[in-house]
Amino acid sequence: MGRYLTVSIPILVLAATIEASFIRVFLGGPELVMLCVLAWAVNGSLEESVTWAFVGGIASDLLSAAPTGTTSLGLIILVFVISRLDRQVYRVGFFLILSLVIFATTVQFVTSSLILVLAGFRVDLLNSLSYVFVPTVGYNLVAIWPVAMILRRIQRWVRDDRVFAP
């Protein structure tokens, strides 16, 4: 647990800060934290994935005006759904990854909108759909591939280290 937690914090903090910078500079971009959690969850254990979801969600929320835990909630749902599939991403292939990205973006959008509304924020759903959700789905569908590739390497490195550790 300690090993992948140590790895997850810098990766997810970096992902959250880059995500925040993308939004500021380009007025939109991929949800890197969510993609990292998704990429880890398709190959990792549930315990690891839930840790990643918590850490990533809190890092994202600390850099936004949303209440802490908002993003984590959506990510927890995501990792449990992926865990329920109980399959490896290499076996499910290209279209399942795309479907997972669309599903994850939707879950994230719905849960965060709902919690924001409940927390007293004013959310314009129609505009959010066209100006936030749809472009974000596009960005995520593109960004998942490099993110998944990098995290897969890190995952292997962490596991090898765990196996050969004295």
Binding site: V13, T17, S21, R24, V25, I58, P67, F80
Partner: protein, 292 residues
């Protein structure tokens, strides 16, 4: 059994995680998490600031590169436009220059209404150095004949030396073989203006007792029948007088810049008078009378 236990553990795990998240959300909304959030957010904000600066810098560099490309393209387009305008400007300046010169010629023709003029373009300047001639684009087809005077608004240019169908050669008054019977405008003293290779003119055969004021205009006298009278030849710049010589002479500067001559007027109404017949008759008379 094992499967069932695993399923229930997973569900418990899910619900515990969900409750944990909801708890965090509630605590955050209520504000109880604020001190912790502030402490944890501080390093995150610092990192975000650094990443922001780097991203902004990269973004600005990319924008600047794009701007440089745009500016280069615009620069090329502007250079092309500038070249086009410069070409048009040169053309317009030429037209303006031509207009000015032609207007001067027109003014001159209105001052001498009794004469007929034919405007001609200078198409060639003799580059040999030994001769001072120019060629104009008018010939026998236009009624030009040998001996016709050629003028501009500034004065006498020369006379037609030879003619082809569509061009003529003009012997300039600055040519050493050119001799123009002239007089000083104020004193009416007569002499002959002879050309020089230096481009200046020399007024000769002026009696020693005559005074030649500097700056006085020299005009054609009409004597000899080669040129009509009262055409400006030039202006006296200096005089020279030697006691051992029978005549004094003056340096005359033409008002025309022969190097930049572009348009001239051929005086077509003037017919040169051939007085060589009278010279031959004089020689015959001398022979009959037993003279030399």
């Amino acid at each position: 059994m094992v499967q069932s236990s695993w399923r229930s553990n997973r569900l418990v795990f899910f619900f515990v995680s969900m409750f944990a998240c909801l708890g965090l959300i509630v605590l955050s909304v209520v504000g109880l998490l604020a001190p912790v959030e502030n402490i944890v957010a501080a390093p995150l904000n610092a990192i975000t600031g650094a990443v922001n600066r780097a991203t902004l810098s990269l973004s600005q560099s990319a924008e600047e590169l794009a701007q440089i490309r745009d500016l280069r393209a615009r620069n090329r387009a502007l250079e092309e436009t500038l070249a086009q305008f410069q070409s048009e400007l040169v053309e317009l300046r030429e037209i303006e220059s031509d207009y000015d010169r032609l207007a001067e010629l027109l003014d001159y023709t209105t001052t001498r209404e009794a004469e007929d003029f034919l405007a001609a373009d200078v198409i060639n300047v003799d580059q040999s150095g030994q001769l001072r001639t120019i060629a104009v684009n008018r010939g026998t087809r236009d009624g030009v004949a040998v001996g016709m005077p050629v003028v501009t608004g500034e004065g006498l240019v020369g006379r037609i030396l030879n003619v082809s169908a569509n061009a003529s050669r003009v012997l300039l008054i600055t040519d050493p073989t050119s001799a123009v019977s002239s007089r000083l405008q104020s004193s009416r003293v007569e002499g002959t203006v002879i050309g020089q290779l230096s481009g200046n003119l020399r007024l000769t055969f002026i009696p020693l007792d005559e005074e030649i004021p500097e700056g006085d205009l020299v005009i054609t006298s009409g004597l000899g029948g080669n040129f009509p009278p009262d055409i400006v030849v030039g202006q006296v710049t200096s005089t020279r007088q030697f006691e051992f010589e029978l005549f004094q002479e003056a340096q005359v500067r033409s008002l025309i810049d022969f190097n930049t001559l572009e348009f001239v007027l051929v005086v077509t109404s003037f017919e040169p008078i051939d007085i060589s017949v009278f010279e031959e008759a004089d020689e015959d008379a001398e022979t009959i009378n037993g003279g030399p």
